[in-house]
Symmetry: C2
């Protein structure tokens, strides 16, 4: 009897479910729910409360609506009987976190807190907690705490305790009212199972936890901010479950939402990028997995523990049990191109795209493909949304150099793609130099499907072959694999993620290989990129920060 | 009996005539002729001959058509009798030069040379003669020749001998066939008067001539290139007439073209920027005149001789007799904004402008006016078309820094305006530091009419008040003034340009004054601009040149 698992992938703008054949990974049905409130970055829904710059919130009800919409849809589309669905896994953006009551009720759903920005879900790309991140880093450095090294020497404003401290700093009443502070991915699993669990992946990568040392000591939290001293015991938990485990079974309530049977196995919560690794068949060191969408997450497994400067972190058993899972990231990739297409493309191109029946991205890709490396004379730093790895600095901004009066939109577009490829190259080189070998790239996510030019440029710039996931929804497939592991072999699933990966993960036949003559030009351009990267990114010229500071001051005075 | 003079101003895209009342400078009628072939920068007219990058040519017949069209038009519009027009002056872009036969026939009008790019007029912004400019500079430096100091230590690829040497280098047959090489401004005066004359302004500012020393020595030209040894004697002349003189009277042929009487006084040829100085009433040191259009020319008079690094040059009697006329320039101002509006403004803005019944420039100005200094977080280097003063380097390119995913078109637009204002500030400061005092700016040209925001930004950035010409066609007015001087007092004109300026030049009542709180922010931004200016412009990081070099190589291989 064929068995199935469902993976639900919570993205930045939408959630998607995929129903997968456990025997071979075949994706039988897919459904997408575009969040009603999407990314909340201007004002709170149904309210006049405006948000400060750099804020990015979400509505937790959008997550429940994702379950309620997409799972019934895949069941209906496939005609599969719910009894044949043996397991369910979820993955999420991270760190995406929220304050809730003891019963799991999000504070933003309580009428008294609905108009309080800090009551809502803080999305991964909420960047307003930089002062808090600075304080976390400074305090750890002053106390000479070794765990900072696990995170490339610096943690980001995106992370759990930066966001937590921002709530406390700016709205202590919300902090006080929150019985629990947790990752959205753990929260949705709680909603499915009725049991609050915490997963090792977000705890390790985003909340300073490690398998060997646990969370930082109370004395550290106290030094950071006296009211945080007991944050772990009061609002979190020290019980962290490894990914690959079973969180529980579906509640009656969740069964009604989804149309699945009560008791269906639910996997411990996971993160979109991390579930993608086994979903492209990577369960060994040497292959860097890139999840390429609005941003890029880079994942690589290592046999040994290495300190790699400027990565996002490494967590033992964080991706695949038995290995150190190393993570790095670029905060602005697809977002970059979307900004450019929305903000900088002249009407003439829109008309041309309409005539050709293509969209602007396709038109630009088509025009940019005709250019040779170096032909535009342009070079960019891909920091429109700051730099995650290896500089870990959200206050860095974008740079374009080389423009002339003959510069065309497709040239800038290509320069932006190249800039993100150089950004990946910096990450690959940094891993290599620090003892984490990489001999190939394996890509998944939306961009590899959409943009062949981009993939070729990444191969040319990195000098590495790039394989591509056969799945169009790799994280959802990965979550379904973890769902099958949560169900276990006895129920028709698997006993380990290795076993699941062997049969359920697939790559396309097509491989992007570096083209030697392109590599030659890109080597020169990359050395120029690196020069600018270090000059503007490592403190020699802090003009980007000065500009940001003036901007903030002027806005403050104007406001 | 009221007397009139006509000024004809040859711009980059069109020529315009203005008919002026000699008694008070009142502009009675104006006519514009948009050149049929405009700027020729892709392929030769009616031909398949393509041009290399950085080329910019013109058609000399467009200049004759300007006379044939605009002068009859202003006579007709005004109803003035041709007998009451006592003088005619012309001004031109410079260095805009061409090769002609002994009778004045341009080589490009001869069928055998029509398909040879070097036979055409090289427009001021023809930038393909950089190797030649480099050689001219290097040779002069090696020979320790003092005249280089008169030009800020470096001459530009735009200048007369750079362009001349390029013809010789790339098409020696054209060089050989040219009996005369001359500025277009002298050529059009020749067409009007039948007499070949050479003016002191272009000779001084563009062709290395000085009142005291004449042209560089033959030994220099020989060292530069043996075939150039006798270029002055063979294809030019050593007889240079000061501006303010009479070149001759209108020929029968030119009288037919224009509808004026034969024998009407014609002034010695002049340059658009230089005629503007008396036309805004400036005949003394201390006021810097800015002719603001596609580019900016900065003109200031000095009592003494000073070496100012990176200016375009100084010429004794070059603007106003009795003073040293100092010139500096920015090669990309209006062109900058035009590029941006054409290449980078999304369709949404086009629709909004249409709805409001305004054009895109107006819409952007309106949106950008709402921003405070520093609010965009952006900073640009205004080098989309190289840097004329003070770096004298056409291989520099544009830079934009500080972009984020929230950056909007109007913010970039304002940053580009600010960048050009910072460029002017560098020029003002350099003059001040080197003994040429400046206590006010006087603006004319198209931009001050069109863009109040820009004018205020220039006042805020420079910290100087800006007065504005009352004329919408200041150079044409200036040329008419020189026409009235060529006619002389006895004929109803003036005996000197001082006398003409006293009655014919007018300024608007409105003065742009620096706003202290804006100045404060701009001081910080300017210091950041200067830092980047020196870093990328003075050799510390030559990435712009590396990119240009790769671009040229790639295009060469591709071609």
């Amino acid at each position: 009897m064929t068995k199935y698992a469902i993976g639900v992938d919570f993205g930045t703008e939408s959630g998607r479910a995929v129903l997968v054949d456990v025997a071979n990974g075949r994706e039988v049905a897919t459904a997408v729910y575009p969040y009603l409130h999407g990314v909340i970055d201007e004002k709170l829904p149904d309210s006049t409360v405006l948000l400060e710059p750099d804020w990015a919130l979400q509505d937790p009800e959008d997550y429940l609506r994702t379950f309620q919409t997409t799972i019934p849809a895949v069941l209906k589309e496939s005609g599969i009987h719910p009894a044949d669905v043996i397991g369910l896994g979820v993955d999420f953006t991270a760190c995406t976190m929220l304050p809730v009551k003891a019963d799991g009720k999000p504070l933003c759903l309580l009428p008294e807190f609905r108009n309080r920005p800090h009551a809502w879900v803080k999305l991964w790309k909420h960047h307003a907690a930089q002062p808090e991140a600075d304080k976390i880093n400074m305090t750890a450095r002053q106390m000479k705490l070794g765990w900072l090294d696990r995170y490339g020497g610096k943690i980001s404003s995106e992370w759990f305790f930066s966001k937590t401290l921002q709530i406390l700093d700016e709205d202590p009443e919300i902090f006080q009212a929150a019985d629990r502070l947790l990752e959205a991915t753990d929260w949705v699993v709680w909603q499915l199972t009725g049991v609050e669990t915490r997963n090792s992946c977000t705890a390790g990568y985003k909340a300073l936890w490690s398998k060997r040392e646990g969370f930082p000591d109370k004395s550290y939290f106290k030094a950071l901010e006296p009211r945080l001293e007991n944050v772990v015991d009061e609002k979190m938990t020290r019980t962290i479950l490894p990914v690959g485990n079973r969180a529980g079974g579906l509640t009656e309530q969740a069964a009604v939402w989804t149309g699945l049977h009560p008791g269906t196995a639910v996997a411990i919560a996971n993160v979109d990028a991390h579930v993608a690794v086994p979903a492209v068949g990577v369960t060994e060191p040497g292959s860097m997995v890139m999840i390429m969408g609005t941003s890029i997450c880079h994942m690589v497994l290592g046999d040994e523990e290495h300190i790699v400067p400027g990565m996002c972190g490494y967590v033992e058993d964080g991706i695949i049990p038995g290995f150190f899972g190393y993570e790095a990231g670029q905060s602005c990739v697809g977002d970059h191109f979307a900004w450019f297409v929305e903000k900088c493309i002249p009407a003439e191109y829109e008309r041309e795209a309409k005539q050709l029946g293509s969209d602007l991205h396709q038109l630009l890709e088509q025009k940019a493909t005709k250019l040779k490396p170096g032909e535009s004379g342009l070079l960019a730093l891909d920091w429109w949304n700051g730099n995650r790895s290896v500089l870990v600095d959200v206050d860095l901004t974008g740079l374009l150099i080389g423009a002339t009066l003959a510069t065309k939109a497709e040239e800038i577009y290509r320069a932006l793609i190249e800039a993100t490829a150089f950004g990946t190259r910096v990450i690959v080189d940094t891993f290599q130099k620090n003892g984490v070998p990489i001999h190939e790239l394996v890509a998944c996510g939306g961009l590899p499907e959409k943009n062949k030019l981009l993939m070729q440029i990444y191969a040319d710039v990195s000098g590495l072959p790039i394989k591509v996931s056969a799945s169009k929804q790799t994280p959802a497939l990965g979550s379904a694999m973890f769902g099958a592991v949560a169900a276990g072999k006895a129920a028709g699933g698997y006993d380990s993620i290795y076993d699941a990966a062997r049969t359920m993960a697939h790559l396309k036949d097509e491989v992007y290989k570096p083209i030697p003559e392109n590599q030659q030009v890109y080597e020169i351009l990359f050395s120029e990129y690196l020069h600018l990267h270090d000059y503007f990114g490592r403190g020699e010229n802090n003009v980007m920060k000065t500009l940001k500071k003036i901007k903030a001051e002027v806005k403050h005075v104007a406001g």
